[in-house]
């Protein structure tokens, strides 16, 4: 194109004093930003395709590289920001829907950051997690309404299928196809070592990973990819995906270019065919239909596995959750609007859905008001960024959280939000063999284990400070929370008091 209406977003800065011309950057950039000019014996760069994934920066042995924002600016305008203008130019070029990846990056309020935790002073001792037992084990699943007794008077301990977690953290659904096999292996191995669960996402389960079945949640989504008897039987639980926080109300589309042999086998679709997940499940147009699928899956798995229903956090999420709690589902997963994705229309990602904090607070309260909180466990997702977010989520009423983006960060993701290009330089959101091999699961799984261990330690520290030595005593314990800088209405929705009260 002779006219460039918009400019590269980033600038490559190379410190010539530090650069030793090892060419690692050139060898590692799938976007071909760097190259070596043999004739001139210099490293050169073309930032046009740079996505600021930081791979080159990370691998440079002399820290000679920096990627910065392109200082080139359009004339400043508080209404028409440079990004909005650029998007208009792009659409004028392509005539297409804008695509993005990972979670909503816009400056909406982050409620986690407006909630503060309590700690014990004087009247009640903090507990030192290094000296005293500190428990983070949780169970997910339906609880019986009443204790039943055997004929001999002993307690009947039979219970609905349950997931047992060593710590209230699970890895979110990310399909094989949207992420690489090595990323999946890392998640699966980490979940197994940690005593938690990872989630297949909607892409089926690769045969190599059946051995991780006891720590696997298998997902059934609207495309029904890779769903068959063995798949359902292998998982520890089955999740029906009704929606996703990053793109509520729309389906998914994995381009045929990514449907290579293994993925085609795993998804049970022809090689090279686009994998399209419809917006709705075409057998679920109502809550009654959902109940049918829940029970179909229970039948298919002989009532041995808990059924999870995952929904996106939307405006009437509390009422929807109430319906799901009465549908026979054992666990409700709610995904907030900051949840990640491998690809979503930008406008949907950035403008649809509600924050998980508010959704969680209203769902938990609604279920309690209706006396059905014990019918289901509540798992929340959609940008749980730290152990503090986990603690706040549990105190608001969640049984556990799903982490997706944080897990990917542990694997190297730098949130360049270009998953949809399939050229992930970190070997995560790609199927190109030379890129996939960049994620060695041996390293990946250990980093995930480290992350969750670290969070678990921190959760225990925070619990100990509150004088709580078992996570169940934190769940729904909103007295441990105070809002800061929140309006009356926000406090009311969150069910917490303001700091100082």
């Amino acid at each position: 194109m002779a006219l460039n209406y918009y400019q590269p977003l980033f600038e490559v800065i190379r410190d010539k004093e530090r650069c030793i011309k090892c060419q690692a950057c050139a060898r590692q950039c799938a976007n071909l930003v760097h190259s070596y000019d043999e004739e001139l014996d210099v490293m050169v760069s073309d930032p046009t395709e740079c996505v600021d994934c930081q791979r080159c920066v990370s691998i440079c042995p002399t820290r000679a590289l920096k990627i910065t924002d392109n200082p080139n600016t359009f004339r400043r305008n508080s209404n028409w920001s440079m990004q909005i203008m650029t998007e208009v130019y792009k659409q004028a070029d392509s005539g297409g829907v804008l695509l993005s990846a990972m979670g909503n990056p816009k400056e909406y309020p982050v409620y986690w950051d407006k909630i503060l935790l309590n700690a014990s002073q004087v009247t009640n001792p903090p507990i030192d997690p290094l000296r005293e037992p500190m428990e983070t084990k949780v169970f997910l699943g339906k609880k019986p309404r009443n204790v039943k007794f055997n004929k001999d008077g002993t307690v009947n301990t039979d219970i609905s299928p349950t997931l047992e977690l060593s710590t209230p953290i699970m890895f979110s659904a990310m399909s094989y196809g949207s992420i690489s096999k090595n990323a999946h292996e890392s998640l699966a191995r980490a979940a197994t070592e940690l005593g938690i669960y990872y989630n297949t996402g909607e892409g089926g389960l690769h045969r190599d990973f059946y051995k991780y079945g006891p720590n696997t949640i298998v997902q059934v989504a609207s495309g029904r990819f890779g769903v068959f008897k063995d798949y359902l039987e292998t998982g520890a639980a089955v999740e029906i995906k009704m929606g996703q926080g990053a793109k509520p109300g729309i389906g998914g589309h994995l381009p045929g270019a990514k449907i290579l042999e293994d993925i085609s086998k795993t998804r049970m679709i022809p090689m090279g065919a686009d994998a399209i997940s419809p917006a709705p499940h075409h057998d679920i147009y109502s809550i009654e239909d959902l109940r049918q699928l829940v029970y179909s899956l229970k039948e298919a798995t002989c009532y041995k596995k808990p059924i999870i229903v995952k929904i996106a956090a939307v405006h009437n999420v509390a009422a929807i959750a109430s319906g799901i709690a009465r549908s026979g589902a054992d666990i409700i997963a709610i995904d907030g609007y900051r949840g990640g994705t491998g690809a979503a229309p930008t406008r949907i990602r950035d403008n649809v859905g509600i924050p998980i904090e508010l959704a969680l607070a209203s769902v938990d309260q609604r279920l309690r008001d209706e006396g059905i909180r014990n019918e289901v466990s509540v798992v929340v997702a959609g940008s749980v960024r730290s152990s503090a977010d986990v603690v706040k989520a549990i105190a608001l009423g969640a049984d556990a959280v799903y982490i997706g983006t944080a897990a990917l960060l542990a694997l190297g993701c730098h949130l360049c939000r270009s998953c949809q290009t399939g050229k992930c330089n970190w070997g995560i959101a790609t199927q190109r063999p030379d890129l996939v091999k960049r994620l060695n699961p041996e390293i990946g799984y250990k980093r995930l284990v480290n992350l969750v261990h670290a969070w678990d330690h921190e959760i225990k520290e925070m619990m100990g400070g509150m004088g709580i030595n078992s996570i169940e005593a934190l769940r729904g314990n909103r007295l441990m929370l105070r809002g800061i800088g929140l309006t009356e209405k926000e406090l009311e929705v969150l069910g917490i008091q303001h700091a100082g009260q």
């Binding site: 030793i20 690692a24 590692q28 014996d41 691998i59 002399t62 041996e442």
Partner: protein
């Protein structure tokens, strides 16, 4: 004994092992200085690549080392399982180059002596620099 092993499944062909090796054995205090002014110190590890495969090759520290057995001067010797070269005794005859089945004997820049991997026992690096520098655990130091 711990040895260096490579796993070609994880080799990214980034060639960083070569640079870390060269720098560690260059005598320079850091990598920038090792390569300053266009210097190209020679690594004792070599990444081979072709048709989508890549892997690093360096001394296997064989139990029956043909290089040591064939050395005409006694410059090559085995200590605690590590084969190293006393460059002051090497005359650059290259008998070891002829003997090594892995091609892991490297000829010095001035062609006067040979150089080889000694698992970084001599250069104060502590651990083999290639292992430390490999970004993807394609090179590991392990007991097997």
């Amino acid at each position: 004994m711990k040895k260096v092993y490579v796993n070609e499944d994880w080799c990214l062909a980034c060639h960083l092992c070569e640079y870390y090796c060269a720098a560690a054995n260059s005598g320079a205090p850091n990598m920038i200085k090792a390569f300053a002014g266009g210097k190209k110190p020679i690594p004792r590890i070599k990444v081979e690549e072709g048709s989508g495969i890549s892997f690093a090759v360096q001394c296997r520290h064989c139990d029956e080392p043909l290089c040591v057995k064939g050395c005409i001067t006694g410059a090559l010797s085995v200590k605690d399982g590590v084969i190293s070269c006393d460059e002051s005794r090497c005359v650059g005859c290259y008998t070891c180059v002829m003997s090594c089945p892995y091609g892991c004997i490297v000829i010095s820049e001035d062609s006067k002596v040979i150089q080889k991997c000694d698992l970084c026992v001599k250069n104060n690096n502590g651990d083999p620099a290639c292992v430390k520098g490999c970004p993807n655990k394609a090179i590991v130091l392990e007991e097997r």
